[in-house]
Symmetry: C2
Subunit: 346 residues, 2 copies
Amino acid sequence: MVKLADLGEFRFIDRITPGCDAGDPAHVIQGIGDDAAVVAGTDDPLVITTDMLIERVHFIRDSLSPQQLGYKSLAVNLSDIAAMGARPLDAFISIAVPASVTVKDLDDFYDGMKALAADSGVNLLGGDTTGSRTDLCINVVVTGTAPAHELLFRSGARPGDRIVVTGTLGDSAGGLAVLLDHPDIPGETSAELIRAHVEPELYLREARILAASGAVGGALDVSDGLASDLRHVCEKSCVGAVIDLASVPLSDALHTLCAATGEDPIRLALTGGEDYRLLLTIDPERLDEVQESVARSTGRKLYDIGEVVDGDTITLRETDGSTSILEMSGWDHFKTNPTPGAAEES
Amino acid sequence: MVKLADLGEFRFIDRITPGCDAGDPAHVIQGIGDDAAVVAGTDDPLVITTDMLIERVHFIRDSLSPQQLGYKSLAVNLSDIAAMGARPLDAFISIAVPASVTVKDLDDFYDGMKALAADSGVNLLGGDTTGSRTDLCINVVVTGTAPAHELLFRSGARPGDRIVVTGTLGDSAGGLAVLLDHPDIPGETSAELIRAHVEPELYLREARILAASGAVGGALDVSDGLASDLRHVCEKSCVGAVIDLASVPLSDALHTLCAATGEDPIRLALTGGEDYRLLLTIDPERLDEVQESVARSTGRKLYDIGEVVDGDTITLRETDGSTSILEMSGWDHFKTNPTPGAAEES
């Protein structure tokens, strides 16, 4: 087997370069191989996001394949670009590799990343490759762009807006629970939940449709859990919210898992994190039209889970009509001891 | 003492945000606090670079102060922007923090970074903060811009060009040698060499003057050692080079160190790495004029160390007139076992 130490850094870079140019080639002035990448300037604003994934904090190497790790490292950044209503342009990958990682692992990692880049029309334009003593460290940067008036911010929620999410919540936390504590859960259920954890779906097309509609108030992606992320939107927008717990979309697989483990699926949805669904607030008079538009173009659904209200309180409406004030928060990287698989910050 | 775990991630982000806006405020549409940063598009091309610094590979935490680590993490990226002939715009910092790092350490780290950002007119526009099990991991991204015709590439060297560097070489390697093996070297010498290693000087103004002059052929920053980096320029430009070893600028401090240790200063200059001087090839008919222009504006010197030639060989001309073919190469992150303080790739 070829070892990384035999291959060397520069031959490794040559090896991973093919297939990195999935985006618009006219946009790239200088790709991999100089001190920096150079791309054409943009008329519209430039959106830039970055996420770091650290072994034994964000992932356990044995719990997902290198391809899946490559997919996920890029996906969590693309999700941030979608949450701004932008389309992605280019990605830059920094990776610090301990000696225990093989060349095949790295090939597979980049294959997973390139497949998603190709699906998303994103160029991989370079980055940094280096060694690490212990843990595999990955940092991905993604740029994107959108017309200024279509950008979506956390601060845009308005009282009266409906609160929607683009998919079921809690599945990623369920997948992590299967990986860590419940390997005995039947195949189909565990496979679906683990997939939600290691290969989260993205909503790039939905984001652009919604951004262009002009009907969206505030937006972000659900990375730390609905409770924590909704609080971010409320704080930035100086509003409160009422969530109908009966309307929060939960998958059959999550119900099956929770029936077996005794966990509350709603608790996983509120605090689990890493779902990477979009959370948006939408003008109530335009919700039906926007839902239809998304469904027609992508076949996907927007789930109406509540309403933006005046004030600064997030209220949970239970299925029996009783209400409670949301006290739970999501993931905090410093307050909680790092746990493998825990959500990273956006 | 305030602990990071008590402070929490979001309050920590609030804490480091003041002073991050050192660049043009009109350029920033959305700074720290959303899913991504948003900046105005650029008419000119956008230059993007990223470098990762890993504890026990690129630095030992005890061998430099948090301020110096903050300075250096940003500096190595600014050096890449300078090497492209561009001016820097914005920086994005990802940091994975083990529990052994204090809030004061992080405050100091950001102070070191913000001081350099202010000097360079760069906005710190966000990034990612997360935990780490063992090693402190830092990834910095810097964007920049320059008119398309002023961009400097590694591939631009032309036979006949003079090869210049913007400062002495080998000092950073000398500083690392002091830190690791020679703590007994006298104060002034060791302080100067260590400073070259932990707080490398930058050449942002010189880079812009040179880029705008139109006299530069190829360019990069010397991060892996003159031998390795000159080879990059030669390979990308399909040329060879002759280096006059007598002309390679060496500091008095490096001579003092080498007199005490028996090392060859030229070997440190060729293979040491992390000097972050600019290496440029310049039209010989314009060299005097360009040197004067740089000296007038910045008080700094360009050192003429050799010539670009046809072919693919790098020849070293010794002080006695004899020549040898350069076989030595610089740092390779995978081939060589990670060593604290070793040069990172550009």
